[in-house]
């Protein structure tokens, strides 16, 4: 009897627990996302796009502290292990960018959206595809502005194992063909991007127009200025060089795109009555409607360490690093005075004697307010604290001033007053300004932003209205149309100049406006390239104040009994850590193509001078 019970129980156990439900074996993997899942879930596609947005290329941008110290706007004052940035020559491969891995990723996504996606609505698909095509065009723009014409690949290239790789070998397109490709792509997708119009971190209709505005301006100025060179840089097949006759068409396309953005929902940031602070807030705060497209950051989620790298010495919240970017005197002097005169600082009179100023900031009085928003100079504040920039004391001795600095920062002189300020500047020192200036733009003033634990979360503007105004002004000026003056004057009015401060434009004015308005925003290197001025400005000459990063040191006068006692004088200096003048050769206009690329694809033509 007992055996029967046991048998029954056993039987029940066996039969009940048998796997009737096969799903138990077919659970979704927790490690892998299949194509089917990915391309049918808008959330997953969005997060894929986030990865691609994060990979948008840049040369000196997106808080690239090192890159920003490689041109004439600044030098490197951080750790000595990167002092090569003050002692290098643009190599033939400088700025080389050839990212067909990324292009393939985008092409693959575009094809999969077509073939694998069944559950997305037509509208969603169109939007995602337009975003992908924007990113692809952005990557092509970055390639063409550095390398010249590159192969245009719009599909995945798959090897068929036939033993013949020639179908995979795509030759370089002509330089203008790549710019035309960017234009056509933007025209084709801009209306599909309208659903994103409220977003500043995903591309929308105006972002596409902004890329058009910038890219067409580049194409136009290469067409114009390359052919004005004594020996234009070209290749026989047109991979490099754009015919001069195309310039007007490109300027017109750029101007049309800019006009459409200006008519759009954007406005110059104007939230603070203090013009200098306003200019700083424009990029530091995420409010207002100046920024068109930005790479966003968020505390504790995605952060960057630009504030850690560049916080002014006396306000560091962390150890080991600060004050890395030291802006140059030539950048500071490119900011005009508000009365319209050139921005050259008056530290000596015509006879070569020092001019004494009552306050240490007085030499910078009445400057373009963008100087305050871009650079920290003596006598200003940061985070509501006074900065302590003073190089030393000038002692009157036997008919001339002896400039004396203390070995240690923040020491007092024998008269009990400041000797060298805690913020320096100090020549040949690390982690303190070597030029007498610190960077303010992009350095976040949020609490603990300069600690490595918290880090900064201010965003990076890819496109903003200020640039579009400048693009429009330049294109209009080149086309001989008068509307450019108004755009430049509005930008200058925002910077504290009176209304209609300029009555006529010149190319030099436009170029200088671009330098001061867009400093440290990854424009200058490419601007000088497309104007074919880089080899003139950065001529490698050790005596040229444009090619050499200079500094300005302020000293307090110690001359008891004299009316100048306690006033300040300024000395132009060449920081000894800055070792070699910036030297841009004709070969740098187009970066050399990697030998591995040439080895793999015999159809690729070398760049000139390579």
């Amino acid at each position: 009897m007992k055996k029967i019970y046991i048998a029954i129980v056993l039987l029940i156990c066996l039969s009940m627990n048998s796997c009737k439900h096969d799903e138990w074996f077919e659970r979704d993997s927790k490690q892998t996302i299949t194509d089917e899942q990915l391309w049918n879930d808008p959330k997953l596609v969005t997060s894929l796009l986030a990865n691609y947005y994060n990979r948008l290329p840049t040369l000196h941008g997106v808080f690239n502290t090192g890159g920003m110290t490689e041109i004439d706007d600044a030098m490197w004052s951080g750790h000595r292990d990167q002092n090569w940035r003050n002692d290098f020559q643009f190599g033939d491969d400088y700025g080389r960018y050839w990212d067909y891995g990324f292009i393939r990723d985008i092409n693959l996504s575009l094809e999969n959206l077509e073939t694998q996606s069944t559950k997305l609505t037509e509208l969603q698909k169109r939007l995602f595809k337009a975003e992908l095509r924007f990113i692809r065009a952005f990557v092509y723009f970055e390639m063409v502005k550095r390398m010249g014409g590159v192969p245009i690949v719009e599909k995945q290239l798959v090897y068929d194992f036939s033993g013949d790789p020639t179908p995979l070998q795509v030759p370089r397109a002509k330089e203008y063909e790549v710019y035309d490709f960017i234009f056509q792509e933007m025209e084709a997708i801009k209306d599909d991007l309208v659903p994103n119009n409220s977003s500043k971190t995903r591309t929308n209709r105006y972002t596409a127009l902004a890329l058009e505005s910038r890219a067409m301006l580049y194409a136009a100025s290469i067409a114009k200025y390359n052919n004005l060179m004594a020996a234009p840089i070209t290749t026989p097949g047109g991979e490099v060089g754009i015919p001069a006759a195309m310039a007007n068409d490109y300027y017109t396309k750029s101007l049309n795109a800019s006009r459409e953005i200006i008519r759009g929902p954007y406005a110059l940031f104007n939230e603070n009555s203090d013009k200098g602070t306003n200019f700083y807030d424009m990029l530091n705060k995420k409010t207002g409607s100046e920024v068109i497209f930005a790479k966003d950051f968020a505390t504790s989620l995605k952060v960057h360490r630009f504030a850690y790298d560049n916080i002014i010495k006396s306000m560091t919240e962390d150890n080991e690093s600060s004050s890395t970017i030291s802006p140059s005197l030539s950048l500071v002097e490119s900011f005009d005075y508000l009365d319209g005169t050139k921005g050259t600082l008056r530290n000596k009179d015509a006879a070569g004697n020092y001019i004494a100023y009552t306050g240490i900031a007085d030499i910078f009085a009445n400057k373009d307010a963008r100087l305050y928003g871009t650079v920290i100079y003596p006598g200003t504040t940061f985070k509501n604290n006074l900065v302590r920039i003073q190089a030393g004391v000038a002692v009157w001795d036997n008919g001339s001033y002896q400039l004396s600095t203390s070995a240690e920062l923040g020491k007092n002189y024998t008269d009990g007053l400041v000797w060298t300020g805690f913020d320096g500047p100090k020549n040949d020192a690390t982690d303190v300004s070597n030029t007498g200036f610190y960077i303010r733009k992009f350095v976040s003033d949020a609490p603990a932003a300069s600690t490595r634990g918290t880090s900064a979360a201010n965003w990076w503007p890819w496109f903003r209205l200020g640039e579009i105004y400048l693009n429009a002004a330049e294109a209009a000026f080149e086309l001989g149309q008068g509307e450019g003056l108004g755009y430049i004057n509005s930008l200058r009015q925002r910077a504290g100049f009176p209304a209609n401060s300029l009555s006529a434009l010149t190319m030099d004015i436009i170029r200088n406006e671009r330098r001061v308005e867009l400093a440290f925003e990854d424009h200058r290197y490419f601007d000088l390239k497309r104007w074919r001025l880089a080899h003139v400005v950065w001529d490698g000459s050790e005596n040229d104040p444009n090619a050499v990063v200079m500094g300005l040191y302020g000293y307090r006068i110690s001359r008891p009994g004299h009316p100048d006692n306690g006033k300040f004088i300024y000395e132009r200096i060449r920081p000894s850590r800055f070792r070699r003048a910036r030297f841009f050769r004709l070969a740098n206009y187009y970066s050399s193509i990697d030998q591995a690329v040439l080895n793999n694809n015999p159809k690729i033509v070398r760049n000139p001078f390579q």
Partner: protein, 225 residues
Amino acid sequence: MKLNFLITLTATASLLMAGCKYDNFEAPETTLSGRVVYEGKALGVRNNGPQLELWQDGHALKTKIPVYLNQDGTFSASLFNGRYKLVRMGDSPWLQQAADTIIVNVNGNTTVDVPVTPYFTITNESFQKSGNTITAQFAVNKIVPSANVELVRLYLGKSILTDQVQRELRVDGNTGTLVFGQSTSIAGNIPDNLKNLDYVFARLGVKSTSSSEYIYTAIQKIALK
């Protein structure tokens, strides 16, 4: 104890020494040297400026061997014996030849003269010092008929490496009145920071519009005292 120590030392040494023979590549031992010449004369260039390239066929992948020029136009490279292709690169003060390859067979130490066609040359140069002024007399010759002269310059410097980049004084000559092949002059005042030296170095350079590099004369040492 002493014996032990010696044995250990010998054992370690022999272990370490034995390894080296097999996993090291031989270093190239032959030297290819030469000059960049026009009509048999070496051309002066900027230190660390123009370059030549060496390539070797017969391998699946190619990598260039860069060859830098000294400022007197000489160069040298350490190589293995073999057959090389020598290429004159662009953005130099001479024509970039379309068929620009020179075959060089390196077998033991080899010397080769690389002929180039400079856009311009400077000949018959002489430097005179009178008081605080240094005057250079020279003639600029046009070699490439289509070339245009952009700048003719006199340089003064403290060091023997004086050129467009490294110099204390630069004086532009008047290219408007320049007649090719005829003697002309540039005068420069010695700057204050050089006045008290025992000697300075002087050099002339001429640049065509087609290149960012200059052709220079040989460096001239001028005694000031």
